[in-house]
Amino acid sequence: MIWFQLQSLMGSYPLALRGLGMTIALSGISLVLGTILGFAFGVLRTSGSRLLDSAIGLWVDLIRGTPFLVQIFLIFFILPELGVELDAFTAGIIALTNLAACFICEIVAAGIRSVPTGQVEAALASGLSQWQRMRQVVLPQAMRVSLPPLVGQYVLLIKDSSVVSAIGLTDLTRVGWLVVQRVPNGLLVFAIVGIGYFAVCYPLILLARRLERRMSAAHGEVQL
C-alpha cells in the first residue's frame, strides 16, 4: 500500500519541484525587496523625525498585529476593487515584502539604537555628514547586533510564505493540497512538504547560529 503510494508520489515530482521553485522565488524576491525596504524604514525611524518615526511605527504595528492571511486577502481582493489589477504572484510578493519590511525595520532600528551615543558624537565632531555617519559609523556597528536576528527572521518569513497558497499560488504547501487529493495519505505528503521547507530553512538556521557565535568573538565588522 505504502509502496504504491510512494510510486504515485514519485510521479508528482515535477509538480513538487514547481512548488518548491515557487516558494523559493516568492521568498527570495520578497526577502530581497523587504530587506532593502526594511533597512530604509529602520534608518528613517531613527533619523530623528518624530513624524516619520510614528508614521512608520503605526504601519509596523498594524502589520504585526494582523494575521498575514488577512493581509494577503486584503491585497488580493480589495486592490482589484480599486482598479488595481493584480495576479496572484504579484499580490503574494507585495504582501510578503511588506511583512518582511515591517519585521526587518524593527530589527534594524533596534540595532541602530544599540550603537552608543558617543559613536555618533565622535562622527559628528569630525564633520561627517548624516549619511556618512550612518554609512561609516552607525550601520556597521548596528549590523553586528542585527545580523543574527535578521537571518532568524528570514526563516520565519519563508515559512510564512506558505500562506500564499490561499490565493491559489502553486507553492510547496499548495502542491501538498493538490497531491493529497490523488494520494490519500496526508501524513506522508505533508511530511515531504515539511522536508522541503526544512531543506530551504536549515542552511539559514545554521548561518544564524554561526553569526551569533562570531558576534561574541569579533571586534570588528561582521564578515560572512
Binding site: 558617543g118 565622535a122 565632531a125 569630525s126 561627517l128 571586534h219 570588528g220
Partner: protein
C-alpha cells in the same frame, strides 16, 4: 578664536551655563577646571555644537553658532574634539579611525590620507599599532589614537573633555605628553581637566567654574598660588592635598 558673550543654557529646570562671557585667543591654551557638575563639559561641548545654547552669542572661528549662514558640519571639521571615553570606532583599525574623516570629509586621496595617518600615529608613539583594533589597545593608546584622529583633520582648534579621567594612573602621562606636544605646536586648545601639572606647564590661562558660572580666571601661577575666591580655594585644597 572662541568667544562666549552672555551665554546661558538650561537642561530642563537646571541652569547649567550661567551668563558665560569668555574668550580664547588664537594659539592660546586654556584649561577649564571645577567640581563635577559645574558645567565645564557642557561649556566645551557647546563650541562644536554637541550642545546648543539657549541665549547669548557664541562665535567660533568668526562664525556665530545658531546663525543660518553657519554650516555646523563644516565648522566641526576645523574643531578637533577628544572625548573622555575616547569613542574610537570599534569596527575600524587605528589607521582607519584616523583616516576616515580626512578621506570622506576632506576628500583627500586614500594613499595620501594613509601616509599622513601613519605619520600622525607614529608621532603619538603608536607606529606599531596601525592595524590594531581599539579593543586591542590600552586606554592610553586608545586616547592617543583619538588625539591623532583629530590632528589628521588639521584643525584650528582642539577641545579636550576630561581626556585622562577614564585612564589608569600609569597611562595618564603618556596622553598628557602628547597633549603637551600639541600645545607646543601652538594649537588653540581648550582643555577640561584636573591635571594641574599639565595646566602649569602649558596653559596660558585657567578658568575655574562652579555651578554653571565662571568664578575665576587667571594665569596658572595666579590661580594656583593665590586663588581669589573661597570656592576656588576650597576646590584647590581638595585636589592638591595629595
Amino acid at each position: 578664536m572662541i568667544e562666549f558673550r552672555g551665554v546661558n543654557k538650561w537642561f530642563g529646570a537646571l541652569h547649567v551655563l550661567k551668563d558665560i562671557t569668555l574668550s580664547v585667543e588664537p594659539r592660546e591654551v586654556v584649561v577649564v577646571c571645577g567640581p563635577s557638575g559645574s558645567g565645564k563639559s557642557t561649556l566645551i561641548r557647546c563650541i562644536n555644537g554637541l550642545e546648543t545654547i539657549k541665549d547669548g552669542d557664541l562665535v567660533v572661528d568668526g562664525q556665530r553658532l545658531g546663525d543660518r549662514a553657519t554650516n555646523m558640519t563644516e565648522l566641526r571639521t576645523e574643531i578637533g574634539f577628544v572625548f573622555q571615553a575616547f569613542n574610537l570606532y570599534p569596527h575600524k583599525t587605528a589607521l582607519e579611525n584616523v583616516t576616515l574623516a580626512p578621506i570622506h570629509v576632506r576628500k583627500i586621496a586614500r594613499a595620501e590620507a594613509e601616509a599622513s595617518g601613519r605619520e600622525m600615529l607614529a608621532k603619538v608613539g603608536l607606529a606599531d599599532k596601525f592595524n590594531a583594533y581599539p579593543s586591542e589597545l590600552s586606554g592610553g593608546q586608545q586616547q592617543r589614537v583619538a588625539i591623532a584622529r583629530c590632528l589628521c583633520m588639521r584643525p584650528k582648534i582642539m577641545l579636550f573633555d576630561e581626556p585622562t579621567s577614564a585612564l589608569d594612573p600609569e597611562m595618564i602621562s603618556e596622553v598628557l605628553d602628547v597633549m603637551v606636544g600639541v600645545a607646543e605646536e601652538r594649537m588653540t586648545m581648550m582643555v577640561v581637566t584636573h591635571e594641574m601639572g599639565f595646566a602649569r606647564k602649558v596653559a596660558q590661562r585657567v578658568v575655574f567654574m562652579d555651578a554653571g558660572a565662571v568664578v575665576e580666571t587667571g594665569t596658572p601661577e595666579e590661580f594656583f598660588s593665590d586663588p581669589k575666591t573661597d570656592r576656588s580655594r576650597a576646590f584647590l585644597s581638595k585636589i592638591l592635598r595629595h
